[in-house]
């Protein structure tokens, strides 16, 4: 198989471990005195966007930064709980760059690009250094040295953490660096501003159309290039662990302008979330993977066992992860653990009011370590569980169920994190990234900060130095055209005046996708889902009800725009899942499984990244393939047994 000519992954020459150094040496530089003549637009202020905005401004560029929240400090990276991986080998447990690289490739079920992943592992250590210099209060040993914990999919202890709020502390580090540059007038910050379209001039990404969410004003912004760091599309499922404002709109708009959407079917369902309690449910809450260091997952052995958990004797419990995956046990990767939990529930062994739940039990840990130690390690998570459910995990096991958490797919990018549109860079969760078909725990923060602090600033500089994007202003006709389309879409949504609310459409879309493109997918189900999504989309444009006007703070209108995009994006997601006739990582096709029910890849046919080209809202996108070559690691069946 050869890659599509449209997809030049642009991987540097040389030995795997020299590639990044070689590329850095090749990159052209912009003279310090000239940097201030260039402007870069960065959408999103999470780890990837915030870190890039701060770093590019420090280098001397002018940055315009955008976020939909009222402050850049609230981007959803803030919610990451457990930690960040780095191959520091501070524990002396034989960790190394190679081992982190290997674990990530294997964890991703051999569907990621080797060169990118190796670079990520190489940079991982620098991230920790940088964050410590910023004053991120990572957990420490009594000796004053940094502490580590273990995470799923690894047999070494390489995760750095700040209690259960690692994402918060890393994001505040990036946010503070960003605020420093705002103070230095190198970054212009646009809070409560949502990107609604990407503008291309002469085939290059040169700007965006945005809406001021307080006044409703539509604004045009021009720059030398654009970085999208806008996060994942988990909210296409309606219920997920994402923040309510997370959407696919920025990447979907770019897709409609010609950027290729890669591997959207790789969605991560996290095994340990608090189960759904009713129809009004607005989001799902994650219970950090770090809990599986000491918590044991189990379900009753007998079907329909309604006894309270503490009355079920030891020999009538099935510690299913320990039974099925003895070498990794409760620290099996997320995709595998989620499927195992679902399997138990499908067999009628689920617990809780609707039978959609399994236990995560700390009784043994409390016996072994004492309640105080368990409290020190997980107190804030246990309190959160208690607040939400009214149950006390110190005396009875948590009830948990898988929920959508992270999306590995996203816009296709080359080694330099640039999409197929020149000047459009995509970083963090928004790109199709380094995680292949499944992401390991504590690797999202690592990737976001690697992209933001250490990769995109250099590749963007090189782009500006070598391409020399010329002078363009917002007077270019492309800006006027994009602005007109944006205004028309807003007017159209406001003028339908139907009967169905945005949230109702979103819930219905979410149910279609969760049922048919969730933890288990089939050909028939996906074909059905595509039909249903098309019908729902048609209904949306006939029967939507949005109150209020366009020139005011209007949260229903904001949501309507995002749901309109999800209604198109959801179809691409299902098409990708339909075309990939194999099971790998977070993509599980029921037709393709081993006798033991494990994911069965088809390396002969599917060792590629699938990148989709937009051809029209109701027409089939064109598939482009990037062949994945495994030169350092042999393709093998992924096993955690």
């Amino acid at each position: 198989m050869a890659s599509s000519p449209k997809l030049n992954s642009n991987i540097p020459e040389g030995d795997l471990k020299d590639k990044w150094q070689n590329r850095l040496a090749e990159y052209k530089l912009v003279n310090p005195a000239n940097k201030r003549k260039h402007k870069i637009i960065i959408v999103g202020t999470g780890l990837a966007g915030g870190a890039a905005a701060a770093t590019l401004a420090e280098l001397g560029y002018n940055v315009e930064s955008f976020c939909y929240q009222d402050s850049p400090r609230r981007a959803h990276s803030i919610a990451a709980q457990g930690g960040i991986n780095a191959s520091k080998n501070y524990r002396g447990d034989n960790d190394s760059i190679y081992r982190l690289f290997y674990d990530t490739i294997k964890g991703g079920d051999f569907r990621a690009r080797e060169a990118n992943v190796y670079r990520l592992a190489q940079i991982s250590g620098n991230i920790i250094d940088q964050c410590v210099a910023q004053g991120v209060p990572f957990a420490r040993e009594y000796s004053g040295y940094l502490a580590n914990r273990s995470f799923g999919g690894a047999q070494v202890s390489r995760t750095f953490y700040a209690r259960g709020q690692t994402g918060q502390q890393l994001l505040l580090g990036a946010y503070q660096a960003l605020e420093r540059q705002i103070n230095a007038k190198k970054v212009t910050m646009h809070e409560r501003t949502e990107m609604l379209d990407l503008v291309l001039v002469n085939g290059q990404a040169r700007g965006i159309i945005a809406r001021n969410m307080v006044t409703g004003e539509i604004t045009k912004h021009v720059a030398d290039c654009v970085i999208l760091a806008t996060g994942g599309y988990g909210n296409v499922f309606y219920l997920s662990t994402n923040a309510k404002g997370c959407s696919a709109s920025a990447i979907h708009r770019a897709y409609k302008r010609g950027a290729l959407m890669a591997n959207p079917c790789y969605t991560q369902i996290h095994p340990t979330c608090i189960p759904v309690s009713g129809d009004y449910q607005s989001k799902l809450t994650l219970m950090s993977e770090s809990l599986r260091n000491d918590g044991r997952m189990w379900a009753p052995k007998a079907k329909g066992d309604k006894r309270p958990p503490n009355e079920i004797p030891e020999n009538e419990r099935d510690y299913f992860l320990e039974r099925k995956y003895p070498s990794y046990g409760n620290l099996a990767p997320r995709d595998i653990s989620s499927r195992a939990a679902k399997e138990a529930c499908d067999e009628g062994r689920g617990v809780g009011p609707n039978g959609l739940g399994v236990y995560l039990d700390f009784a043994d840990a409390i016996k072994r370590l004492g309640k105080q130690t368990v409290k020190e390690r997980y107190g804030n998570l246990i309190d959160m569980y208690n607040r939400i459910t009214g149950e006390d995990p110190y005396t009875q096991p948590m009830r948990i169920y898988p929920a959508v958490h992270y999306t590995m797919g996203g816009l296709w990018v080359d080694y330099d994190l640039m999409s197929n549109i020149p000047g459009l860079f995509v970083t963090g969760e928004a790109n199709f990234s380094d995680h292949g078909a499944n992401r390991l725990g504590a690797s999202a923060l690592m990737q976001g900060l690697a992209d933001g602090y250490f990769i995109s600033p250099h590749s963007v500089s090189n782009y500006i130095a070598s391409v020399k994007p010329g002078k363009v202003t917002t007077d270019a006709p492309e800006f006027a055209a994009a602005e007109k389309e944006t205004r028309e879409k807003i007017k159209r949504m406001l003028s339908i005046n139907g009967k169905t609310t945005v949230d109702e459409f979103h819930r219905r879309l979410g149910k279609i996708i969760w049922d048919k493109c969730g933890m288990a997918r089939t050909k028939e189900g996906l074909e059905q889902a595509i039909k249903e999504i098309r019908a729902l989309r048609a209904e949306f444009w006939k029967d939507l009800k949005v109150t209020g006007g366009e020139n005011e703070l209007n949260q229903s209108l904001e949501r309507a725009g995002r749901v309109a995009d999800f209604l198109e994006f959801g179809e691409v997601l299902c098409m990708d899942a339909l075309h990939r006739e194999e099971s790998c990582g977070g993509h599980f096709r029921v037709e393709y499984q081993t006798e033991e029910g494990e994911a069965k890849r088809n390396d002969e046919k599917f060792t590629y990244a699938a990148a989709w080209e937009f051809t029209g809202v109701d027409s089939q996108p064109i598939l482009h393939k990037e062949e994945l070559k495994f030169e350092s690691i042999h393709l093998q069946t992924r096993s955690y047994k």
Binding site: E58, R73, Y90, D129, P137, A243, G245, Y280, Q281, S282
Partner: protein, 256 residues
């Protein structure tokens, strides 16, 4: 599952420049709902009836982004200790309750619409000095900076602040000293933050005053309403840092 009938009195205000007033809504809620889910239900009904839904800030809905900003029955984030509005659940209320919902009230946090306020003042305080000036790259190995566990733990206690502004909303003086004290203390506790400690505390306090926040008169409402239980001791710490910085300035002025 028991349902409860509730009466809500909600602050409605079209925009920054218009006058607001309380509107009354009746709703049914389940004890398993979060407070925001209860409001979602009210809003969806308003939308179906063609009325403007209640605007409120929210995002992560798991108590960490700090977007929530409602005063519930007089308490920022409502009656439950150490809990943001999004994590407050309706089992804390009972059938027949009347619940009064208002935005944060403070001169430095103007209302933008209904329950949404502008907290840009907090960002501007951070801009004035709430960071270490470590540019990307060129920093030493992480383990070359040893930090005693107690210092790191105390820094983390302060760094947990989610920047929601409940401390300001709770304070009779609308003081932001808990917010500023938390950031000053987080960084002052760490060797990395020491170099700039003196200018940081002065600049942040100056900006805080400029934004129109009041002073601390030791009511302690900030600590008791803080969803992350940030201790009021960090205000004392900030005051000590500030005095230290002032005397340093005086000494250097005298030396010159």
């Amino acid at each position: 599952m028991s349902d409860m009938n509730l009466t809500l009195k909600v602050w409605r205000q079209k925009s920054k420049d218009q006058k607001g007033c309380f509107e009354t809504y009746k709703t049914l809620a389940s004890e398993h709902m979060s407070f925001l889910e209860m409001l979602d239900v009210v809003n969806e009904k308003l939308e179906r009836d063609g009325k403007d839904p209640v605007a409120f800030d929210h995002d992560c809905r798991e108590g960490i982004c700090g977007a929530c900003s409602m005063v519930i029955n007089g308490s920022p984030h409502g009656p439950e200790k150490a809990t943001t509005t999004c994590q407050l659940h309706m089992r804390k209320f009972k059938d027949g309750d009347t619940i009064v919902i208002e935005p944060w009230r403070a001169k430095a946090f103007p209302v933008l619409k209904d329950l949404i306020v502008d907290r840009g003042a907090f960002d501007r305080i951070i801009q004035s000095g709430g960071y270490t000036s470590a540019a990307t790259g060129g920093v030493p190995d992480a383990n070359s900076i040893l930090i005693p566990k107690e210092r790191a733990d105390e820094a983390m206690d302060a760094a947990q602040c989610i920047g929601c502004g409940a401390c300001v909303a709770a304070c009779p003086n609308a003081s932001a000293m808990l917010f500023v004290g938390a950031k000053v203390s987080h960084l002052a506790n760490l060797p990395q933050g020491q170099v700039e400690a003196k200018t940081r505390v002065q600049n942040m306090v100056t900006q805080m005053d400029k934004e129109g926040f009041g002073n601390c008169t030791n009511h302690g409402e900030c600590e008791s309403s803080c969803p992350k239980e940030i201790s009021i001791k960090f205000i004392s710490k900030m005051n000590r840092e500030y005095l230290g910085a002032l005397s340093h300035v005086q000494k250097s002025a005298a030396a010159e």
